[in-house]
């Protein structure tokens, strides 16, 4: 009943006449999705170590450095003996309560191998440190890409799809190549304007790495 009247009520409106209203409204909407919490709240400096073995790429070690506020939040909760550093037992609790849940967010690491998405489902060797009030996480993503004579491409895009955290490449040494002798490797960091996340509002940055067997 209401909807019928409502439609009639709309019908009386000349489209032209509501344009200014729509412009204002879309401006507002473009200013933000309607969650009640503004984002982001956690800031992460991201570093990638691309690890090679005899055949090609064997894995990606991801290192995160957190902002001091989130660091403090984790320290308050998990540095139970309050000594300012994390013991293995404390790291184990962090892994369980403040890391493993990130599996549902692909560990904030989105990978494409020669154009095909590689979903990060498992990670290994998690570690966390606390030093001078700064928290770090690091973990290894096993990801094997055999090198060939033709060029292969690895794209790694670190971001939090929920935009609760802002993940950015670190200003210093964002990408490190490990044991890459025997391969021709080239890499750069660029904004990917083809893709976006968080309601299409943010373009991610990505590392684009190309490699092949050295001649």
């Amino acid at each position: 009943m209401i909807s019928k009247k409502y439609v009639q009520c709309l019908g009386d409106i000349k489209l032209r006449s509501i344009i200014p209203f729509l412009i204002v409204l879309s401006l507002l909407l473009s200013m933000g999705a309607p969650d009640s919490n503004a984002h982001p709240h956690v800031f992460i400096a991201n570093r990638l170590h691309i690890i090679f073995d005899d055949e090609g790429i064997s894995g990606i070690r991801v290192k995160w450095v957190f902002d001091k506020y989130f660091s403090r939040m984790i320290a308050d909760e998990f540095d139970t003996d309050r000594d300012g550093v994390l013991k293995p037992s404390e790291v184990a609790v962090i892994k369980k309560d403040a890391f493993s849940n990130l599996a549902t967010f692909d560990y904030f690491t989105f990978i494409k191998i020669s154009g095909k998405p590689f979903k990060v489902q498992f990670v290994r060797d998690f570690n966390s440190t606390l030093k001078d009030g700064v928290l770090t996480y690091e973990f290894l993503i096993p990801c094997h890409v055999k090198a060939a004579k033709t060029v292969k491409e690895l794209r790694v895009s670190p971001y939090d799809p929920s935009y609760y955290s802002l993940v950015l490449f670190a200003e210093t040494d964002p990408v490190t190549l490990v044991d890459y002798n025997g391969f021709d490797v080239d890499h750069k960091i660029a904004k990917n304007t083809q893709e976006s996340y968080y309601n299409g509002q943010v373009n991610p940055y990505e590392m684009v790495l190309t490699f092949r067997l050295a001649k």
Binding site: I2, Y6, V7, C9, L10, G11, D12, I13, L15, S17, I18, P20, F21, L22, I23, V24, L25, S26, L28, L29, S30, M31, G32, A33, P34, D35, S36, N37, A38, H39, H41, V42, F43, D67, K68, Y69, F70, R72, M73, D76, E77, D97, A98, N101, L102, T104, F105, D106, P161, S162, Y163, Y164, S165, L166, T193, Y197, N199, G200, Q201, V202
Partner: protein, 306 residues
């Protein structure tokens, strides 16, 4: 005529969709989420570098603030503290300019009301202050009463207040639409009762709506307060919380007033035909009411499934 109707409805649906996705506000490090979120396919609102810029500025401000808070712990001079409070205010302004903070809901509600500057000011400031104070109370309550870690209570309180807030918003929107319908019916019957259009909701009503929208604790305030309090700077933490809330109030109020102005402009353009203007006004109010209801419903559903 029919085409126009369809176009209208289509546009409104598009806007609703554009605003609907991404309705999640839980910390990914702790909240148990059922399904993996994928990068949103929605391209209705093109990505804009300003989002990253806003976020990066916030990071720089927060880093500077962290340094100053540590400094304040060591040497209690008023100079750096005043500068710190000013930075907190600026952080609030930027923080609320990013996605969220009930701006869309508050704005939609304002569009459904008779225009009133006082009402807009009350609503915008009310939402921000409620959002900030809720965060301050949460941190203090956990610190002094529960004496526990913050993460658990923060998750619980956020979730509970989300349920409350989104339910109230849904009800509010529904009430607005129904009211609009009755107004439309009485207007079309021509029995306009003078004095029926009360000038914008009363102060207490506006405040109640502001609290309903802003009740969810602001994580920005929570994190900064927690940081200060972990250094035993409780007074400074509270002061910082209020400064951030004051900054957010500026931004949210500005957005609300801007939308009111937009509505006014639309009506002014059409004022030549007062009957038509009246109907358009009703149309805007009904759309805004529907938007409030839909936003509340979508946020509620989003919370249930998170």
């Amino acid at each position: 005529m029919m085409k126009r109707k369809i176009a209208c409805i289509g546009l409104i649906l598009l806007l609703l969709l554009a605003s609907a996705s991404g309705a999640l506000a839980q910390n990914p490090f702790f909240s148990k989420k059922k399904s993996s979120p994928q990068p949103a396919p929605s391209r209705l609102v093109p990505p804009h570098p300003i989002f990253i810029k806003l976020a990066v500025w916030q990071k720089q401000l927060k880093d500077t603030m962290a340094g100053l808070i540590e400094q304040a712990r060591n040497e209690r001079r008023p100079g750096p503290i005043l500068y710190l409070l000013l930075l907190a205010f600026c952080y609030g302004v930027l923080h609320a300019a990013g996605p969220g903070h009930g701006k869309v809901v508050a704005t939609s509600f304002m569009l459904s009301q008779k225009r009133s500057l006082a009402g807009g000011l009350l609503l915008g400031n009310g939402v921000a202050i409620a959002h900030g104070i809720s965060g301050i109370i949460l941190v203090l309550a956990v610190h002094f009463i529960l004496k526990s870690g913050l993460i658990g209570p923060l998750q619980t309180v956020t979730r509970t207040t989300q349920y409350i807030s989104y339910s109230l918003i849904t009800l509010l929107g529904t009430a607005l639409v129904i009211k609009c319908f009755f107004k439309w019916r009485s207007a079309s019957r021509g029995n306009r009762k003078p004095g029926e259009d009360t000038a914008a909701g009363s102060g207490t009503r506006m405040l109640a709506v502001a609290i309903a929208i802003g009740i969810i604790p602001c994580p920005g305030v929570v994190m900064v307060m927690l940081f200060a309090m972990s250094m035993n700077l409780i007074g400074l933490g509270i002061a910082l919380g209020f400064c951030i809330a004051a900054g957010m109030a500026v931004t949210i109020t500005l957005v609300v007033i801007l939308a009111m102005y937009g509505k006014g402009l639309t009506l002014k353009v059409l004022a030549r035909d007062s009957r038509l203007a009246k109907r358009i006004e009703l149309g805007i109010e009904a759309t805004a009411g529907l938007l409030v209801a839909a936003l509340g419903g979508l946020l509620l559903v989003g919370t249930v499934y998170t």
